[in-house]
């Protein structure tokens, strides 16, 4: 309990730094944001008007605190492009991104866990170095290029998967899944290698532990020892990887959503960058960082539950 409270308090400085960074990113922009938004032909008057609307005429520190105050009350400002509130725009784009990430995360775990167990089971064969090479290859392939190749294979040469678009879950679960499977697989590809490698390393470490030897000495079958004693002990440190996996997936969605025209947070970010819609850019990045921080918090708390030795210090 004490751990939970202290861990919660540690969020405050992190989120403060996060908000400062998000705020400064937009104010780093060389030149006047109002000028950039309105374009070169705009009149001096309309620029000044927009500056007042955006609060750009006040000192930076004041701007920051008034912005932070708004953010804390859930007001992320208004889109310069569509005049809608930014928080509403983000909520509207959440569904596709959430669907994509859930499928990708499930795919990652479904493929990575059995692979790691199998590799450790056959650890003295050529399978192990082969596995390491493949997982290295996995992190070396650019996601968007892999997506292009898959689209070429399964969208053009053998057209069995749709290569663009998104069907909401409410309009049919099967169709929803069918449209997301290819992008989710591309998104998961990198993470599968990372998670499987991490699990393998963890399992190989517990293979040499005393409890494993005892279990073997009891006469348990290799398979049972691997799953009951080795795998579950390796699973605990691997939960931390889920945090980084989510970060990887969040970064990846930007590329994958743009390529497969899925109207999620990632595509919203890219579109807003093209439109120079700074309030939306700011809102999306802050939102993603907050989600990532929260996921890491949950992972840490879960870790403490799974492994009672973990204490805050």
């Amino acid at each position: 309990m004490q751990y939970t409270i202290r861990r919660l308090f540690s969020l405050i400085p992190v989120m403060l730094i996060v908000s400062i960074i998000v705020f400064l990113i937009v104010h780093l922009t060389p030149g006047n944001p109002a000028y950039l938004i309105l374009g070169e032909d705009s009149s001096q008057e309309s620029i000044e008007q927009l500056e007042i609307q955006l609060g750009l005429d006040k000192p930076l520190v004041i701007q920051f605190f008034s912005w932070l105050g708004n953010v804390l009350t859930g007001d992320l400002g208004q889109s310069v492009y569509s005049s809608e509130p930014v928080s509403q725009i983000i909520i509207d784009h959440l569904g596709p991104t959430f669907s994509l990430m859930v499928i990708a995360l499930v795919l990652t775990l479904l493929i990575a866990i059995p692979t790691a167990i199998f590799v450790v089971w056959k650890r003295n064969t050529v399978l192990d170095p082969t596995f390491i090479s493949i997982s290295l290859l996995g992190v070396s392939i650019p996601e968007f290029w892999f997506a292009m190749l898959l689209v070429l294979c399964f969208g053009v040469a053998i057209p069995i998967f749709p290569v663009a678009g998104y069907i909401p879950f409410a309009e049919g679960a099967l169709n929803w899944f069918y449209h997301l499977i290819l992008p989710a697989f591309v998104l998961a590809a990198v993470e599968i290698g990372l998670v499987a490698r991490m699990l393998r390393d963890g399992m190989l470490e517990s293979v040499n532990q005393d409890y494993t030897r005892t279990a073997k000495a009891k006469g348990l079958k290799e398979r049972i020892v691997l799953i009951k004693h080795v795998f579950f002990n390796a699973l605990i440190p691997t939960t931390t990887v889920i945090g980084t996996t989510v970060a990887g997936l969040l970064g990846g969605t930007v590329i994958i959503e743009t390529m497969f025209t899925i109207p999620g947070i990632g595509q919203l970010l890219i579109d807003s960058i093209y439109r120079r819609d700074y309030p939306v850019i700011q809102g999306v990045i802050l939102f993603i960082a907050a989600v990532y921080v929260l996921v890491n918090l949950l992972v840490d708390l879960l870790y403490a539950v799974l492994d009672p030795r973990i204490r805050y210090d």
């Binding site: 992190v14 989120m15 730094i17 400062i20 390491i132 070396s140 292009m148 070429l152 590329i255 990045i285």
Partner: protein, 285 residues
């Protein structure tokens, strides 16, 4: 043996690539400036090894020339992130007071997925080679700081460093002459990985159209241009992508190999894995 051969291969590929890009003007038959409207989107042949693009340019030549910018960006980002991360990491690990402030800032920066942080920065600064380098350095150095700091904390209490402190050796000397050499191996390994990640990130940013100016050939901008022609001229997409994969894979292999080579603990572990019960048998034998 297998491991070291693989490292040799990875290093060889990288050296070959660097030599090829450095001497490109001496031997390239079809420089990227060579535009031939009659030879648009030709498939690979003896004349054009990798085929031609939509302007009739030789894709092989383009790929080699693009390597120059890509490797430059990756290399500079790796160097700058390593330098910044090492200095901040040394300070954070050595001075207790500075540690709190530095690590809070680093925690905050690590709360962003690296690619997104870079994307937001490039969006704010505008796309150019310099801005890409700034954005990627900013995105990648926090990880280095964290790694260097924890390495410093491990050697901080070793006796000879205590001894140096008591004899009144200056902090700068202790940091750079006694501590730095002891934490060098994780720095080199991580630097290699940052090089690899920076190449991937630059390609992704350029592909999304927010990175390097499209007229500058990099592997990312080539892939972006090729996307439209993927069904009629797949070679235009396949070869620059393969170039990225081979380069990044070589860097990752090298980093992986260096990590094992530097880590004596890992070496012992490897032996144990192969024969888990060897010690026991020896005891009774």
């Amino acid at each position: 043996m297998f491991k070291s051969k693989r490292n040799l291969l990875a290093a060889g590929v990288l050296i070959l690539l660097i030599i090829a890009t450095a001497t490109v003007s001496l031997w390239l038959t079809f420089p990227p400036s060579h535009i031939d409207p009659n030879e648009r989107l030709l498939s690979p042949s003896g004349k054009h090894w990798f085929g031609t693009d939509h302007f009739g340019r030789d894709v092989f030549g383009l790929t080699i020339v693009a390597a120059r910018v890509t490797l430059f960006v990756g290399g500079v980002v790796a160097f700058l992130s390593t330098a910044l991360g090492t200095i901040t990491g040394l300070i954070a690990g050595y001075y207790k007071k500075a540690e709190f402030i530095i690590m809070r800032i680093i925690d905050g920066m690590l709360a962003f997925p690296a690619l997104l942080l870079a994307l937001a920065l490039v969006a704010a600064l505008g796309g150019s080679v310099t801005n890409i380098i700034i954005a990627l350095t900013f995105a990648f150095w926090p990880v280095m700081t964290r790694i260097v700091r924890s390495a410093v904390l491990q050697v901080n209490n070793i006796q000879y460093i205590e001894a140096a402190k008591t004899t009144g050796t200056g902090d700068v000397v202790i940091l750079f002459r006694y501590i730095l050499p002891n934490v060098l191996s994780p720095i080199i390994v991580q630097g290699t990985f940052i090089f690899a990640k920076a190449i991937l990130a630059e390609a992704a940013l350029s592909f999304l159209g927010v990175g390097v100016d499209p007229s500058t050939p990099t592997w990312g901008t080539m892939l972006q241009e090729s996307q439209v022609y993927i069904t009629i001229a797949p070679w235009f997409s396949v070869f620059p992508g393969l170039a990225i994969v081979i380069t990044v894979l070589s860097l990752n292999m090298l980093g992986d190999g260096l990590r094992d080579a530097f880590d004596p603990h890992k070496k012992n572990q490897k032996k144990k894995i192969k024969t888990p019960f060897k010690n026991k048998k020896q005891k009774y034998a």
